[in-house]
């Protein structure tokens, strides 16, 4: 792949930007990237953890302006990792970190994926509760549209089904 700027040297710096779910990419050679100011530091430091750190709010410019997030001191009770560590390494410490840093991760996940909620597979054995919850959500949506369509007969049916399923959750 050639550099988008000089169209000569091979592109080794790949920038992906996500804004309002819209993604744009730029492929640059190190010298053009440096010129563009895309790298505020040495190209050798330009790696995934640093990029992720940016996603997680680890923006040096922000910190310099005194806008550093006070939650950086927060710690995961299960593994002892601090949010600051996650910013530096780009990796969470353990599965529980997702709970411990839920708020901090929410916006980062939206920026990375354009979404923050899982809609895919649910484990067969241990995912029973999640499966029911998802059914409940689906039924609630159906109920809403039945009411909007003034189809009260159908709405009543869905409401009964909802009650039945919600019993299973308790």
């Amino acid at each position: 792949m050639q550099c988008d700027e000089c169209k000569q040297k091979p592109a080794t710096v790949h920038l992906t930007e996500m804004y309002n779910g819209q993604k744009s990419e730029m492929h640059l050679c190190p010298s053009c990237a440096a010129k563009k100011g895309a790298l505020m530091f040495d190209p050798n430091q330009f790696n995934i953890p640093n990029l992720l750190g940016g996603f997680l709010g680890g923006n040096q410019a922000l910190q310099g302006a005194g806008l550093a997030n006070p939650t950086t001191q927060a710690t995961c009770q299960n593994c002892g990792v601090r949010f600051m560590d996650i910013r530096n390494t780009g990796k969470l410490g353990c599965p529980n970190c997702y709970q411990a840093f839920e708020d901090e991760l929410e916006s980062a996940l939206k920026r990375i994926h354009g979404n923050s909620q899982h809609t895919g597979k649910i484990p067969l054995r241990s995912g029973e509760k999640t499966r029911i919850k998802r059914q409940v959500e689906d039924l609630k949506e159906q109920l809403q549209s039945a009411i909007l369509a003034e189809d009260y007969e159908k709405a009543a049916e869905i409401r009964d089904a909802l009650k039945e399923i919600e019993k299973k959750l308790d």
Partner: protein, 355 residues
């Protein structure tokens, strides 16, 4: 047994061009799932002791499974393998470049006979379940890994959250934990300078393009690895489906370009392919980059029917057999770059003209 043959042979399942669809453009397809065990720290925080527990749990889940494809996986830990052997597995796409760096007893690989199913243990996540097949066959890869996943989950309790999905060490994998990819050979589009434009737009679809060995590797020999980037908010089927749609379009475009090249520039094309063939069959010293470029031309000749006595499978095999670790394994000794260039020229002739 399985591991030994994977280390000594240059051939693995995904290279078999006769066994997959659309192999004139698509080399191989792969799907991998990232999975972690509930409440256990991610691998980068594990010590020998806890790491060992993870590997034991996974091995046990496999050996006690009633599902034959899971039970028959052969295991190896990285303290049992030399660095060269780990490089060999990496060059065959069975472990990642990152994983190959480690020699810990709590990191390892479970893999079947032909390398089509494998599980990396304690890479970035506790488990990375992989399906790797020849040609363009994401659906089959996905079916294979989902079956392994379901069987493992009967015994292992995964880190899963109803809202975030499968929890992974890196937030770029959370949700489905799924990375699907297709290795494409696009000499026609590269010759006509169309690849940049297309790959530019692919980013907007939540996908990305990389070189032969994934993240951070350059594109060589017109081999491009196309994969999804978004893992959260889409279902596994949607991820595969989206990648399939885009891949199909690229494959069709590549075929159109090849067709028009063959019509409009037949002499130039024949000349180029003939030169590649000549150099590959007579060179005495050849670098890896030069070899890949020429192999790409030769492969195009085979796919267009201009060269009939060489099999596409042999060229797939060569993409791997000319890598540094494979050359040294074959020679049975460590070699510097110059020695490798000599050995490479020899291996190319061996494999191309193997009876």
């Amino acid at each position: 047994m399985g591991i030994d043959s994977l280390l000594y042979s240059t051939h693995v399942g995904w290279m078999d061009s006769s066994a997959g669809p659309e192999t004139d453009v698509a080399i191989s397809s792969r799907v991998r799932l990232a999975r972690n065990l509930d409440a256990v720290p991610f691998p980068h925080l594990l010590n020998e002791q806890t790491g060992k527990k993870v590997i034991d749990l996974v091995k046990q889940a496999c050996s006690q499974s009633e599902y034959e494809p899971l039970r028959s996986l052969q295991g190896v830990t990285f303290d049992q393998l030399s660095e060269l052997d780990r490089q060999i597995l990496m060059e065959k796409h069975l472990i990642s470049p990152q994983h190959a760096h480690f020699n810990d007893s709590y990191r390892g690989l479970l893999v079947n006979e032909d390398g089509s199913r494998s599980i990396m243990i304690n890479e970035e996540d506790h488990l990375r379940i992989q399906g790797l097949l020849p040609g363009f066959d994401l659906e089959k890869c996905n079916d294979a890994v989902q079956m392994l996943d379901d069987e493992l989950e009967k015994v292992l309790t995964y880190a899963f959250d109803g809202y975030r999905g499968y929890l992974t060490a890196c937030p770029t994998n959370v949700g489905t934990g799924m990375r699907a990819s297709v290795m494409l050979h696009l000499p026609g589009m590269a010759m006509t300078a169309q690849t940049n434009r297309i790959f530019h737009n692919i980013g907007q679809l939540g996908m990305t393009v990389r070189g032969l060995y994934g993240e951070g590797t350059e594109i060589l020999g017109n081999f491009y690895q196309l994969s999804n980037q978004v893992t959260l908010g889409l279902s596994e089927e949607e991820i595969c489906h989206n990648l399939t749609l885009v891949t199909r379009q690229i494959i069709e475009q590549e075929r159109r370009v090849r067709d028009s090249l063959q019509k409009g520039m037949a002499y130039q094309l024949q000349d180029r392919i003939g030169r590649a063939y000549g150099l590959l069959s007579h060179a005495g010293i050849i670098s890896s980059n030069e070899a890949l470029t020429l192999l790409s031309d030769l492969r195009l000749g085979v796919d267009l029917g201009l060269i009939t006595h060489i099999q596409a499978t042999a060229i797939n095999e060569l993409i791997v057999a000319i890598r540094p670790a494979h050359l040294q394994k074959r020679a049975g000794q460590e070699m510097d770059a110059f020695q490798r260039d000599i050995k490479r020229a020899e291996v190319i002739k061996d494999i191309l003209f193997r009876k």
